[in-house]
Amino acid sequence: MLLQVRDLSLSLRDTENSWFWSRGEHVNIFNGINFDIDLGQSLGIVGESGSGKTSLAKTITRLYQPSRGSLLFDGVDISSLRENELGSFRSKVQFIFQDALSALNPRQTIAQIISNTLMNFSIETSKSAALTHAGELLDRVGLPRSYLSRYPHQLSGGQRQRVGIARAIAPKPKLIVADEIVSGLDVSTQAQILALLRELREDGSLIFISHDLSVVRVLCDHVLVLREGKQEELGKTVELFDNPQSRYTRDLLAAIPLPEYDPTWLDREVERKTRDTEECMKIQGAVVFVTGSNRGIGAAFVQNLISRGASKIYIAARDTSKLQNLVSENAGKLVPVELDITNDQQIARAVAGASDVNLLINNAGVNGNSALISANDLASARDELDVNYFGTLAMCRAFAPVLKKNGGGAIINILSILSRVNLPACGSYCVSKSAALSMTQGVRAELAGQKTLVVGVMPGAVDTDMAKSFEGPKENPNDVANASLDAVEQGTEDVYPGGMAQGVSQGLAGDPKAVEKEFAAYLPG
């Protein structure tokens, strides 16, 4: 793998609102970006203005230092290296700038600009050799050699961009990051530059930043869609364009006017939009039933639901005594329910007393942290299957008619990323979650007819009591709850909150065997 990006985040100080004593608050530019890029691949990063795409490009090339996450280039984490330690990285990764005029030093000729780069990286040692080499580079980007003696301001926009490309390919980099490099150009010039890039792409990897999905389609084999600093969707170009998973990507595509006559296009959006907003439920005003709400992710759900304005929340737990404080603080909004989801009578009672629910959150679960063969007995395995699979299924079965009556609504099943790959250290837990994942898919299909959205949430390790013994990066339960509720509002079916989950999911999409091998290393004990 040439470049692995994990949970990459950047926040900068808001200098505009800074005061004498405070240097401005941190503003999130982007958050939790995950992708891989192999040698020879090209990735398009697409987003609207303010999505943080240029900042992401500058962080990948380490013009900015990320505030969180890792950047593995050729297996070395370069995210926190200092400028003087970046030496070999600098020659392997090159950047092409959006504004070609400002990226070329106005006081240097094209020859100086290109040969400076060649000499810095010791590709050429003598000036005359560098000059000849610069001439060859101009040939490659389709500029006459006579342009060597010109200054940047004497060239046209397209020609400047070609010089930028020549400079970028000069050290024969493994990765080129191109930031909106065709956005200011005319269609015909743009097509020429794109053709040039397609040709050069074969020599190395390319990350191509653009606001224009059409341009990305021309160049890239993978696409990452960014929205307000968050990774909205990542996939192979063909699949993403033919069958976009996220609603936002669908919106973006639908908003692009193709050059063909289509008198209904302008009105179409309005129709679709209103239908969509009807389709997706709002948390505000929703009546929610949360299991396992006394701690961990469940407690985070309750807090988030309150702050998002849910009108009524049934908070269920095996032991409701600890919930009294919370209930009295939010009088009238919270209804405590004593519930063990393995107990059918309690479930029946709960459903009878909660006929207004339109969002069910199946959060309750257990983890015995035991292996499959080396465990003493099958108690843990049975218990986990009982709660995590049968209990959750029972809840879905019980509440499905209620949801139908209330207009469809949604179910959130809290699974785990371990539902998709087995971690031997807690092998039986993974089995139960895997069953629950399969169950989620089946329930989703069965309930599609009554317009119930079934969301499967697959986080990595979450910072709760359950994962106390796990040492390693953990997600904040709040983030998990937030991502899940976002998914309900946006109509997303599968949620991978956090860097670890996204990384695993992506790994599984690329090479499932490798992921399995990686997890197999974590044996019990």
């Binding site: 500058k58 090339t61 013009l63 400028e83 003087n84 030496g87 600098r90 020659s91 990764v93 090159q94 950047f95 700038f97 959006q98 504004d99 400002s102 990226a103 070329l104 030093n105 106005p106 006081r107 400076n116 780069t117 810095n120 990286f121 200054y151 301001h153 004497q154 400079r167 050290p171």
Partner: protein, 276 residues
């Protein structure tokens, strides 16, 4: 920015500055009289076109000293002060401005606070107080110019460095593997240089005025003739012999204008971007 000034011809200013340099270098040779030699019988002679004699082209002062010779020797003091003063003020200001603007951080905070404190006070008064503290003399004037005017360079160079630093070509140089010091010297500095040349020529003019101001209030050397000193003497007799003040004022005005014009045209000539 207005660029259509009627004074486009820089040959005027070059002539003035060459003349000034010539007068300063060869003052003892070209001056018709000893500037300190008194001739009380021939005091207050008017210039030749106002009825004076051709022996004293610009007339004589209250002690009968030849005004032309005094002005030629005054040019010497002016050039001495302005060249040395501006050079060191520029040196200090540019180095601090470049470092402060490019590296930022604590160094920048320190330097820019210092500049702010310096600028938050009327420079003329500070100059006068400073000169009074050090005691009269040409060297005093030079020191005063350096201490007051380094901020002028520092401030401009710092803000220009910050502008240049944020442009993409500096990022491109980082990507191109250049070390920060090399970027500062090879990429950023050449882009600031034209501005610097302009600042430096302007500063020469300013230094000459500062010298005049200090000698006008009696804080420069009283042993050799200076233009400011001549103005001060002239001010006393302005109602009897206005040319005593008029001649040195004329000289300073012409020189200051010349430096201004040359600053402008040098900038336009050096800058390949402006030339296009």
């Amino acid at each position: 920015m207005p660029t259509t000034s009627v004074f486009k011809i820089s040959s005027f200013s070059i002539f003035v500055i060459v003349l000034l340099g010539f007068a300063a270098l060869f003052a003892p040779i070209i001056a018709p009289y000893d500037p300190m030699a008194q001739d009380l019988k021939n005091s207050f002679l008017p210039p030749f076109w106002l009825g004076g004699t051709s022996e004293h082209l610009l007339g004589t002062d209250s002690l009968g000293r030849d005004l032309l010779s005094r002005i030629i020797f005054g040019a010497r003091a002016a050039v001495y002060v302005s060249v040395i003063g501006s050079f060191f003020a520029a040196l200090i200001g540019v180095v601090l401005g470049l470092l402060s603007g490019y590296f930022g951080g604590a160094l920048d905070a320190l330097i820019s606070r210092l500049v702010d404190a310096w600028m938050s006070f009327p420079s003329v008064l500070l100059c006068i107080v400073l000169a009074a503290v050090i005691g009269p003399g040409l060297e005093t004037v030079i020191v005063a110019i350096i201490i007051i005017d380094w901020t002028r360079f520092c401030r401009v160079v710092r803000s220009e460095t910050i502008v240049q630093k944020s442009s993409d070509y500096v990022s491109a140089a980082i990507i191109g593997g250049l070390s920060p010091l090399k970027i500062l010297i090879k990429e950023v500095f050449p882009n600031i240089a034209p501005l610097l040349v302009t600042l430096l020529t302007l500063e020469m003019g300013i230094a000459i005025v500062v010298e005049a101001i200090l000698s006008f209030v009696g804080l420069s050397s009283s042993h050799i003739p200076t233009w400011g000193g001549l103005i001060q003497e002239g001010r006393l007799y302005v109602n009897q012999a206005w040319w005593l003040m008029g001649a040195p004022v004329f000289c300073i005005v012409v020189v200051v204008l010349a430096f201004n014009l040359i600053g402008d045209s040098v900038r336009k000539r050096i800058d390949p971007v402006l030339r296009a």
